[in-house]
C-alpha cells in the first residue's frame, strides 16, 4: 500500500513540475481548480502523534520523523462567460509535509516542519513552494504546561488550531482564509488539562495579510489567546477518529495587533489596529463530529477612515461508521461570510458534501481518501463548483 501511495504521489507531482517549467496560459487553467494548499499547521506534538516509525534514541535524545503525503486532484467549473475558463483542473492542492521532532530528556523538545507543494505566483503561474511552516523549541516544565519559541501558526480559529493531518476534511473551509493569520515568530504558552486548554502568545507581528504599498513593512507585536473548555474530557487528536464517549468543546479566541507601517524610505506611515476573534463549538460522539464557528475581523487605521470588517460562520459535520471492510465518513459543511461590511460589502457562501474513506482502518488511520464537492459563491468572483479528490497518507 505504501509503495502504491508513493507511486501515486510521484505520478501526481510530475505534472506539477511540468506546469512550473512551462508558464501557464493567461489566465492559467491548471491552478484554478484547486486553491493553493493551506499551509500545514501542525500542532506542537503532531509529528510524534502521527509518526509511522518509532523514535530514534541515543542517550537522552529521541528523534521522530513524520509527515504526510497529500496528492490532490481538483476539478472546477467557474460561472464565467469566457468558454476557455469555465472548466479547470489541476493538482495545486498537493503537498508533502515532513516534520522532525527531537526531544532532549523529558522537558525540552524541538520541532521542524516543512511543506513542499505549489503556490500561485503573482503573475498567475504555478510554481513550486517550500515553506518552513514550523520551527520551535519548547520547554515543558510539567505535563500541563508547555512554553515554546519560534515560528508556528497563530491559533485563532478551531480550523487553524487543528493540525492539517488531524482534520477529517481534506482542506479548510475557504472563508477561513479571511481570518486566519500567517505563521509567525513568537513566544507561546500552552496549558492543557483534561477539561481546559489555553494558549497565550506574543508574536513578531510582521507577517500580515493586509495589503501595503510595495516596499513597505509593518512593525507591531501581535497578541493571541485561545481557550477551549472540554468539560467531558479532551478530544482525540484526530478529528476522524471515533469517540466512544461524548465530548464537547466550547472555545473562544482573539488576536490583537497594533502596528505602524513604515514606508520604503523608512518613515513611519499609517498606524492600524487589527482585531480578530472566534468562538467555536465542537461535539464528538460515536463517530459523529460536529464543529461550528463564528469568526470576526476588524482592521482600522488612522488614514483611510475605511474599516475592514468581516464576519463569518460555518458548521461542519462528519460521521464515521464502520462497514465490513472499511470505515466511511460522510462529510458536510456550510459557511457564510460577509466581507468588507463597512466599506465595500460582499457576501460569500459555500456548501460542501463528500465522504472520507479509511481503507485500512482495521490496522491504521494513516491512509484516508477524501472526495468533496463544493458549491461556492466567491464574494468577488461569483459562483464556482469544485470537486476535490485527495489521498492522505501519514507517515
Amino acid at each position: 500500500m505504501m509503495r502504491r501511495a508513493l507511486l501515486a504521489l510521484l505520478l501526481a507531482t510530475a505534472p506539477a513540475y511540468a506546469d512550473e517549467a512551462t508558464p501557464a496560459p493567461t489566465p492559467p487553467l491548471a491552478d484554478e481548480a484547486t486553491p493553493a494548499p493551506a499551509p500545514a499547521v501542525p500542532a506542537s506534538d503532531s509529528v510524534a502523534k502521527t509518526a509511522l516509525l518509532p523514535p530514534l534514541r541515543t542517550g537522552l535524545v529521541a528523534v521522530t520523523f513524520g509527515g504526510s503525503l497529500r496528492p490532490t486532484i481538483g476539478l472546477s467549473r467557474h460561472d464565467t462567460p469566457v468558454v476557455r475558463d469555465r472548466w479547470a483542473y489541476g493538482i495545486a492542492g498537493s503537498s508533502i509535509d515532513v516534520g522532525v521532532d527531537a526531544r532532549v530528556g523529558s522537558h525540552v523538545s524541538g520541532t521542524l516542519y516543512v511543506s513542499v507543494g505549489s503556490e500561485r505566483a503573482p503573475d498567475g503561474t504555478l510554481r513550486g513552494r517550500v515553506g518552513l511552516e514550523r520551527a520551535v523549541v519548547a520547554y515543558e516544565p510539567s505535563r500541563l504546561v508547555r512554553l515554546s519559541a519560534g515560528k508556528e501558526s497563530v491559533p485563532l480559529s478551531a480550523q487553524s488550531a487543528t493540525p492539517t493531518v488531524a482534520r477529517v476534511f481534506p482542506d479548510r473551509i475557504a472563508l477561513d482564509d479571511t481570518f486566519v493569520l500567517p505563521a509567525d515568530v513568537g513566544l507561546q504558552a500552552r496549558v492543557t488539562t483534561g477539561k481546559v486548554s489555553g494558549f497565550a502568545g506574543v508574536w513578531n507581528g510582521i507577517a500580515s495579510d493586509v495589503v501595503l504599498e510595495p516596499g513597505a513593512t509593518e512593525r507591531g507585536l501581535l497578541y493571541s489567546a485561545r481557550v477551549e473548555l472540554t468539560p467531558l474530557g479532551a478530544f482525540e487528536f484526530d478529528e476522524g477518529r471515533r469517540e466512544n464517549e461524548l465530548r464537547i468543546g466550547v472555545g473562544a479566541a482573539a488576536t490583537y495587533r497594533a502596528v505602524t507601517a513604515f514606508t520604503p524610505t523608512g518613515m513611519a506611515g499609517v498606524r492600524s489596529r487589527d482585531l480578530r476573534a472566534a468562538m467555536s463549538l465542537r461535539v464528538a460522539w460515536q463517530g459523529l463530529f460536529v464543529q461550528s464557528e463564528v469568526l470576526r475581523r476588524q482592521v482600522t487605521d488612522d488614514l483611510s477612515m475605511r474599516p475592514d470588517v468581516a464576519t463569518a460562520a460555518y458548521v461542519q459535520a462528519s460521521w464515521r461508521f464502520r462497514t465490513a471492510r472499511v470505515d466511511i465518513a460522510p462529510l458536510g459543511r456550510a459557511g457564510l461570510e460577509h466581507i468588507r461590511q463597512l466599506s465595500s460589502p460582499a457576501t460569500g457562501s459555500s456548501l460542501e458534501l463528500g465522504a472520507a474513506v479509511f481503507p485500512i482502518a482495521r490496522r491504521t488511520d494513516r491512509l484516508q481518501i477524501s472526495a468533496l464537492y463544493a458549491h461556492v459563491l466567491e464574494p468577488d468572483l461569483g459562483l464556482v463548483d469544485r470537486v476535490l479528490l485527495q489521498l492522505r497518507l501519514g507517515f
Binding site: P27, E32, H78, T80, P81, V82, R84, D85, V210, V211, L212, E213, P214, A216, A252, A254, A261, T263, P264, T265, M267, A268, G269, V270, S272, L275, A277, M279, V294, R296, Q298, T300, D301, D302, L303, S304, M305, R306, P307, D308, V309, T311, R340, Q341, L342, S343, S344, P345, A346, D380, L381, G382, V384
Partner: protein
Amino acid sequence: MKHVLALACLLGGCVEGLAPAEVGIGRVVGAYPGNVAAVLPPMTDERGNLFVVTGMPDSTGMPQPGTAHSGGARGRWSAGCKTGTGTRGSARGWIGAVAGRGWLWTATAIVELDVATGQCTTKLDTDPVSASDVIFLGVAPLVDWTVSGRFAVAIVTTGVESKPHLATIDLGLGLVRTSEPLAVTEVLAVGADRAQTQAGFLVRDGSGLRVLIARPHETTYESIAVAGTATARTLPGDLAIGDDGTIAAILGGDAIAVGTRAGLAISPATFTPHTIDRDDDGGLWLTGLAGTEPRIASLRAGMLDRSAPWSCATRIDQALDTGIVVIDERGGERVAARWRAHGATGASALLPTRSVPAYAVGSRAVLVADPPVDRGGIAYSQLAVVPVGVEFQ
C-alpha cells in the same frame, strides 16, 4: 459583566464609519490650476485604493486633458500621468476600479491606472483587429470582475466604421470582445447597476430617445422607450438604475428622464441637476444646485419626488471651510497640515459633474482644494482627497 460586554462588542461590531457630514482626514494629491481643478470625483476600489483625475473644465464644461493619480489604501501616491492630448484626451468618466487597478475613458482611449506600479497604460486607442482608431461615445461605469478578467461595456465607433457599436471590452487585454451595430447618433447619458451587472446608456437614434440596458458579455440588449426630447450635456450625464426598478438620467437643459423598464419620460428639474446618486440601500437621489444651495430629491417608483435642501452637502462645505486636517505623504514622510478647503469639482464638494462612487458604507470620497495661489497669472491649488459621511435626505 464587563468582559461579556467586551466580547459582545467584539463580535457584534463596535467599529463605525464616518457619521453624516463628518469629514475625515485628507490626503494631498498635488497642485493643479483652476478654481475647479477637476470634473470627475475620486474613484475607489474594493480595497480602498484611490484614483484621482484632474482636468480643468473650459467654458463649455468640457474638461481639459489632465493628470491621473493612483493612491494606495495604506499610503503613497503615484507621480501622475497625462490622460491624453488635445480636446479628446480629457477624462470623460470613470469605468471603475477593482483589485488595485482603475480605468477611465477619454474620447479616444481607455487609461488604466495601476496602484502597485503607479503607472498608466493607454489601451484600445487603436482597435487591434482593424488597426483603426477607436472613438468612445460612452463607457458605462461598470467593471465586471470574473476569473477570466475584467470587462466593460461601451458604445464606440472606429476610424473605418462610423456606425456606432455596442461593444464588450476586455480591460486587461485591451481589446473588443464582441460588438453589435447600433442605429445610434448620440450618447446622452451613461450609468450602471453594479449589483445586477447591468450597463445603461441613454441614446438618441432616428426615432428619438431610448435607454439601452446591456450586460458585459451579451450581444443582446434591452431597449426602453423615452418619451420627449432633450439636448445632450457637454459630457454624458449620469444614468442610474435603482433597486426598485427606477431608471433616471440627467440630460441637457436641466432636464431629467425618469421612469421604469416600462418607459421613461422627460421632465424639467426644479433645480440644476448635477448627479444621480445611489445610496447604500439601492435608492436613487437626484442632487444639484438651486442657485448656490445644494438640493436633493428622491427618485422612487419611477417618479421624481419634491426636492429639499441637502443639508448634509451644506454642512460638509461648511466643515471644509472651517478647516480640515490633511496629510501629505508624497515625500515618504507624513506631514500634517490644516486647510481651509473647498470643493475642487464645483461649487459644492458633493456635487461634481458625475456621481460620486461610494468610498465606504455611508461615505464618499471628494476632491477638495486649499485657497488658490497665483502663479504667473494662473491660480493653483493643492488638491486632496477627503472621505466624508453622507446622508441622502
